[in-house]
Amino acid sequence: MAFIPHTPHDIAGMLEVIGAHSIDDLFDEIPRELRAGTLGLPPAMSEMEVVRLLRARAASDGRPMNFIGAGAYEHHIPAPVWAIATRGEFYSAYTPYQAEASQGTLQVIYEFQSMICALTGMEVANASLYDGASALAEACLMAVRANRAANARRILVPRSLNPTYAQVAHSIAGNQGLVFESVDFDRATGCTLLESLEPYSGQDVTALVIQQPNFFGNLEDPQALAEWAHRNKILVIAVVNPISLAVLKAPGEWGADIVCGEGQPLGVPLAAGGPYFGFMATRMQHVRQMPGRIVGRTVDVDGRPGFSLTLQAREQHIRRSKATSNICTNQGLMVTAATIYMSLLGAAGLERVAAACLQRTADLVAALGKIPGVKPAFTTPRFHEAVLLLDRPVAPILAALARRGIIGGLDLAERYPELGNALLVCATETKLDADIDAYAGALADIMNPSRAAAQGKCDA
């Protein structure tokens, strides 16, 4: 029997101790009329059969070359990261409520919190939230609690923010009366300008969200935006990419009050969308408004240092309906992986990764921009993504690239119709010259079939 260790002898002995005739007797408190019939499920499979099934399905999905970012980024993941994170002692442990028997997990989280503080330039970080998008939703709710100067529960959300993040923030926080007001971006620079915030000067606003780099990959001028917000008693929520923080000014230095973001780039695989983790950091003055678990360093009765969950009075199992959030987990395993990743790379390694991302994206934009009918939408300084404008609809081009095993980017037609035929592309340190050449060659052939024909190729 799958994962059931009982022998017939065990079963008989146990039933005798219980004083029951059969296992079925143990369910005699469930009303007869409610009892389920046979389930319409497939029969059991052996491990070997399941391995064959899953390998076949994986093989049918193939391994295309990917040039999409848009919130999830392909990076090299060092072998030790998952070799250690999937050790049973991390993988199959529960939440560290019994601190004495969970010092490993607790110390990992403390080290993680320290590393997030180091990257963001903030004083405190939590043990993580579900993902970057839901972390922003929680940051908005936190801002309502933290900003006593505002009453209106209004959050300013630039359109240059990842549009899914805005949707998720609305789904999660909208029920508590938060209103999200969209702030347009400048068509020339692909950034949020001070002018577009001016209409809100002097108004009752809770927080301004600033994504750096923004959804288009462009670098905003966050300091100017944050200064405007603080002049107007508005809190600043930064949404940042942790890899970029190896080279970009820390949000703690440019005026963010709450920092959150997607932690996936730190050693977590793309995995078709999850599990990832969200991180959150803030200034000490707001720590009691922060949601999620927090680990603190303390001492035991002998004065020996140790770690435990702390500030639990904010959480659901104590505060119930008055808790800061209903969240009760963090993304512990992903945080373990990220802590190992950051330890291996260190500041120097992360800087190297960030520099390679920057250069590879510049190379990609240069290579694709040479193709007739393709040009970059913005010339603003960027990190590792860029918007390209095509002279024709993007979807058929992407479909043709996919047939050649290339995932060529994200079509922005639905999300940003005002940009026209816009394509969001990304290249990280994982893309080598040959990969960029392969993409550029394929795109040139597809955009210009006569070129392909002249070279004796055809678009399969």
Binding site: I68, P78, A101, G274, V301, L311, N326, G332, T336, Q359
Partner: protein, 489 residues
């Protein structure tokens, strides 16, 4: 001021300037791309500078300070700490799955797995449709209550904003209601652990949005009067929410949909054996009856002919929306799918059968050893509650003392002080994957602890004695906040 040097140093303290794990650094890339000076970081972030071997040793050592299912019996009530099959992880880590970007062309092999998972969960719960997108039980709960609100609003019945929860409810239930902008009305349970029907009747009315229930309840017993509860709430115009925390107890025996529930969330990390990972990631799939189907959170996997695709707001315009940046904890869902295929139809039913057998056996043996059941007249479901109020009076030991002493005997502690309404309680859930010998060893430890209570109670009050640390000063942790390492100034 005590020395804060832990037995295993912090990773930061192992480093030295100039050291690093060189092979993990990507090669230098020639070129002139640069960040403008005013946006650049002035000084490097204070991260560890350590070798690869130092990293491997440090985190391996830390792992060894944890209790886990792979190393210990872990009878943590309400958490369903069953064996996590290794193959679920190894197959979910196949390169085609883990290297897949979520926004590329829809991968048919992966989506086939997700589609079949939706169908299997639907069948097991007796629901009409399932969304896999919530990323944990608490988010599944949020989705459930948000759907209930959306349903009432869509019918123009917008005055319904009250959620009824029994006193014994998990803390997330009231916290979730609040996150959805609802108020909470708590109702008592009777002496047998069932919902107090009179109190329920008095509580329902035109403001009732729903009742949130766990069945078997957090008291570890099956709610006898569930059909009556469903009738009362439905007649008052409210809906029934099933908290799937305890689904392990009833797999294949009774289905929430058949009990009258309109919406359920499932903790795939409990019942369907995806790893707890030291506190996540979980997955909180939601299932709904016909009334709530249009409001499901997106995306969901749909099927056009033989082609699988993500259904979005275009397909479900009344959806409560997106709860994650992409499609929830996809890799966790994949592990649950693999688990379900391994078990199949008969294996699923055996989960509940052997979870119940183990729980009832353990309950009988502990009672025989002198421990008091909180609900002695009732069958255990997949878990049960022991109350130590008598021992507390006689020997001044607490449930926490027993929990900590169990660590010394090599067992993870049961859940303590939950549910809140049973004094000095231990909530014990052995799960179906434990062998009789392990249950017997646990009973032996509990018998030995009972002897210690009577003869040397200080062994309990000062436990644990064999862990990396002894009891921690939580008051100090909360008052003298030390939440991050900082480099020496």
């Amino acid at each position: 001021m005590p020395d804060l040097q832990a037995r295993e140093p912090l990773i930061f303290e192992l480093g030295k300037p100039g050291r690093g794990a060189g092979t993990q650094f990507p090669p230098h890339v020639a070129g002139s791309a640069e960040i403008p000076a005013q946006l650049r970081r002035a000084s490097a972030p204070p991260l560890p500078e350590v070798s690869e071997l130092q990293v491997v040793r440090h985190f391996t050592r830390l792992s060894q300070m944890n209790f886990s299912i792979d190393t210990q019996f872990y009878p943590l009530g309400s958490c369903t700490m069953k064996y996590n099959p290794k193959v679920c992880n190894s197959l979910a880590m196949l390169p085609e799955f883990i290297d897949r970007h979520p926004l590329g062309p829809e991968p048919q092999g992966f989506l086939a797995c997700m589609y079949e998972l939706q169908e299997m969960l639907q069948e097991i719960t007796g629901m009409q449709a399932v969304s896999l997108t919530p990323m944990a039980g608490a988010q599944g709960e949020f989705a459930g209550v948000a759907m209930i609100r959306a349903y009432h609003r869509a019918r123009g019945d917008s005055g319904r904003s009250e959620i009824i929860v029994p006193q014994a409810a998990h803390g997330t239930n009231p916290a979730t209601a609040a996150m959805c902008g609802c108020s909470v009305k708590e109702i008592p349970c009777d002496a047998n652990g069932d919902v107090d029907i009179e109190a329920l009747q008095a509580a329902v009315g035109p403001a009732t949005a729903a009742i949130m229930l766990t069945n078997p309840s957090t008291l570890g017993v099956f709610e006898h009067k569930i059909v009556e509860v469903a009738r009362i709430v439905h007649e008052a115009g409210g809906l029934l929410y099933y908290d799937g925390a305890n689904l392990n107890a009833i797999l294949g025996k009774v289905r929430p949909g058949d009990m009258g529930f309109d919406v359920i969330h499932m903790n795939l990390h409990k019942t369907f054996s995806t790893p707890h990972g030291g506190g996540g990631p979980g997955s909180g799939a939601v299932g709904v009856g016909a009334r709530l189907r249009p409001f499901l959170p997106i995306p969901i996997v749909g099927k056009d002919g033989t082609n699988f695709r993500w259904l979005t707001e275009r397909d479900l315009p009344q959806s409560i929306g997106r709860l994650s940046g992409f499609m929830g904890n996809a890799g966790v869902n994949l592990r649950a799918y693999i688990y379900m295929r391994l078990l199949g139809r008969d294996g699923m039913v055996r989960v509940a059968e052997f979870a119940a057998l183990n729980a009832n056996y353990l309950l009988q043996r502990l009672q025989a050893a002198g421990y008091e059941a909180a609900y002695p007249e009732r069958r255990a479901s997949h878990e049960f509650i022991i109350t130590l109020k008598r021992e507390n009076r006689l020997y001044e030991v607490t449930a926490m003392d027993v929990a900590k002493r169990l660590l010394d005997y090599g067992f993870h502690a049961p859940t303590t002080y939950f549910p809140l309404l049973v004094p000095e309680c231990l909530l014990i859930e052995p799960t179906e994957t434990e062998a009789k010998e392990d249950l017997d060893r646990f009973c032996d430890a509990m018998i030995a602890i009972r002897r210690e209570m009577e003869q040397e109670p200080e062994k309990l009050s000062s436990a644990p004695h064999t862990m990396p640390v002894r009891r921690l000063d939580d008051v100090r942790a909360a008052k003298q906040l030390d939440l991050a390492w900082k480099p020496a100034a």
